[in-house]
Amino acid sequence: MTADADTPLLSVRDLKISFALDEGLVRAVDGTSFDVMPGQVLGVVGESGCGKSVTMKAILQLVERPGRITSGEIHFRRRDGGGAIDLARLPPRGPDMRDIRGGEIALIPQEPMAAFSPVHTVGDQIIEAILLHGHHWQTDRKLSRGEARDITVRLFRDVGISMPEQRVDAYSWQLSGGLRQRAMIAMALSCKPRLLIADEPTTAIDVTTQAQVLGLLRDLQAKYNTAIIFITHDLGVIAQMASYVVVMYLGRVVEEGPVDVIFHAPKHPYTRALLRSIPSLYGATRVALPVISGALPHPFNRPSGCSFHPRCPDRMARCSVAVPSHQPVGPQHLASCFLHHDLAEPA
């Protein structure tokens, strides 16, 4: 494998996804672009409805009807080194996509309770995945069930599940929230993926368990050098986990940059407002928090021009007419805002 560290593992280019509903067309993702480098932890921040989850579904070709990828490209460099392929063009149920899904790109879903089948043991479900994608472990012959079970026990130990030999035979409802999330991580890692998509992996669990799971993910990332896309609305989690951050608003990337720059020198008014609005463990108490005025617009009536302009404290006349393009505003730092550059998207 000739992995080039400077070439993106995944490159999403001008992705558009829309949902044809009875009421009209909802453009959930409206021209999103970002890259994931090999071994990088990319944080994706945004509020509900900003299109972050559906973008991740698109990468795995799991967008359900009436949703549809209308345009754009999702380039992914496969393990065999045969150059990048466009996932958006692959048939969702074809052999390539089925091999990539779980085998090379794995997903840690938000609710581990809903993700495991309650009528099979967690071990059986992981063993099934390992047997299905066995060629990522053993290229010359098929894995036996016993070998797959050994791998599962080893993974359980890796993710810090005590008594792994017994726990592989447990059902998901017999495990606590933290253990279930660990089992989910073991399953996601079971086929040695090169890219892990973690969609709000710690939202449903307690803060102490969250800290354990985050520490675990960081250790595993260092050990296997897996690239991770970390989606969350919790800015604390992003600050602790990500090295590069993408901020989304209404289906578009409005700002992106290294984590330190995003938290200490954000350029886009939305990013700034978002950072100010969170209560911290250090700030003043019992005073009004600065809020982002107004509410998220309904997807049917997306504002003209820059979609953030009705809520923006720094809006200018131009913002309601032209869409700012995504331009460099510093080293590795891009923003879509006329405050920082004059370039508009072609109408």
Binding site: D206, V207, T208, A211, Q240
Partner: protein
């Protein structure tokens, strides 16, 4: 915690003493009781009029059960829930019959966690928000409409919305509707169970601001049940930390955050990911799991996970003692070291 309300300068609105709630564990065909889950096991705290007490802890620690006992949504197994009524008399909510509770229902109201599940989707805002007035027999239809309009304005929604149904509103707006409903009967004590945990960051800030504003305008008393420490810290005057059915620490918010006097409180605070990449907070996390309240560990319930534990901790149950004025902890080592 000792001290009678008569001694203290401010007579508390709510005085919870030795509150217990056990759930039976049954087994077999005859449903024999083989043990008890001690979900709430001897909890003491007071809530003064006009203040916010934050009740924090991990899932399963009993914080929601305790709050449901206070609302008498479930019946406590033991203890007293002394409540000072609007009329000025002190009653024990724990022993009142449903008929005796009825007049007090208007004084104690609840804000729910889930803004989607807690509103009736088949009822308009007028009916959803006005229902507490209807069931408590307050006003006629005309007066209810006026009151609902006033309430919607109070929580920052347009009164014209009252003929719409909940599905037309976003999560943050629905939470405002739920708050309006809780305020319909002019309550004095509002129990809010995770009021912002289902909301987005920017919406969360709006709802927190609304709660603070309403509290000062209407002189409300809040019992806030939540797991997010930064949220609890932001709006609480005092904080009570629960672990396996017991309080482990209780004190003024600033003091607890400046120098926690229980290792569990300190561990909870360390576990909150700081929204600053230059501050690393996810190292040195609390290991292990919350023990089952059906079979808690010996001695101090926290000792198997405590990094400071000494031999004494696994044998001797620590008392809930006052370490500074109004600051209580259940730890043998408190005062001897910083956690």
């Amino acid at each position: 915690m000792s001290g009678t309300p008569i001694d203290s300068q401010v007579q508390p609105l709510l005085d919870v003493r030795s509150l217990q709630k056990f759930f039976p564990i049954t087994k077999g065909f005859l449903q024999r009781t083989v043990g008890h889950v001690r979900a709430v096991d001897g909890v003491n705290f007071t809530v003064n009029e006009g203040e916010t007490l934050g009740l924090v802890g991990e899932s399963g620690c009993g914080k929601t059960t305790a709050s449901r006992c206070i609302l008498r949504a479930i019946d406590p197994t033991g203890g007293q829930i002394l409540y000072r009524t609007r009329a000025g008399s002190v009653v024990d909510l724990a022993v009142l019959s449903p008929a005796e509770l009825l007049p007090l229902r208007t004084e104690i109201q609840m804000i729910f966690q889930d803004p989607f599940g807690s509103l009736n989707p088949r009822m308009t805002l007028l009916d959803n928000v006005g229902e507490p007035l209807l069931v408590n027999g307050i006003g006629n239809r005309r007066e209810r409409i006026d009151r609902v309009a006033e309430l919607l304005r109070l929580v920052g929604l347009r009164p014209e919305f009252m003929h719409r149904f909940p599905h037309a509103f976003s999560g943050g707006q629905r939470q405002r509707i739920g708050i309006a409903r809780a305020l319909a009967t002019n309550p004095r004590l509002v129990v809010a169970d995770e009021p912002v945990s289902a909301l987005d960051v920017s919406v969360q800030a709006q709802v927190l601001n609304l709660l603070l504003e309403l509290q000062s305008r209407l002189k409300l008393t809040f019992l806030l049940v939540a797991h997010d420490l930064s949220v609890v810290r932001h709006i609480s005057d005092r904080i009570a930390v629960m672990y396996v059915g017991q309080l482990v620490e209780l004190g003024p918010t600033d003091e607890i955050f400046r120098s926690p006097q229980h290792p569990y409180t300190a561990a909870l605070m360390r576990a909150v990911p700081a929204a600053d990449p230059r501050v690393r907070t996810t190292d040195g996390t609390l290991g292990g799991e919350v023990p089952s309240p059906a079979a808690p560990p010996s001695g101090c319930y926290f000792h198997p996970r405590c990094r400071h534990a000494v031999a004494r901790c696994s044998v001797e149950t620590p008392e809930f003692r006052e370490i500074a004025s109004g600051h209580y902890t259940r730890c043998h080592l408190a005062g001897e070291m910083a956690f």
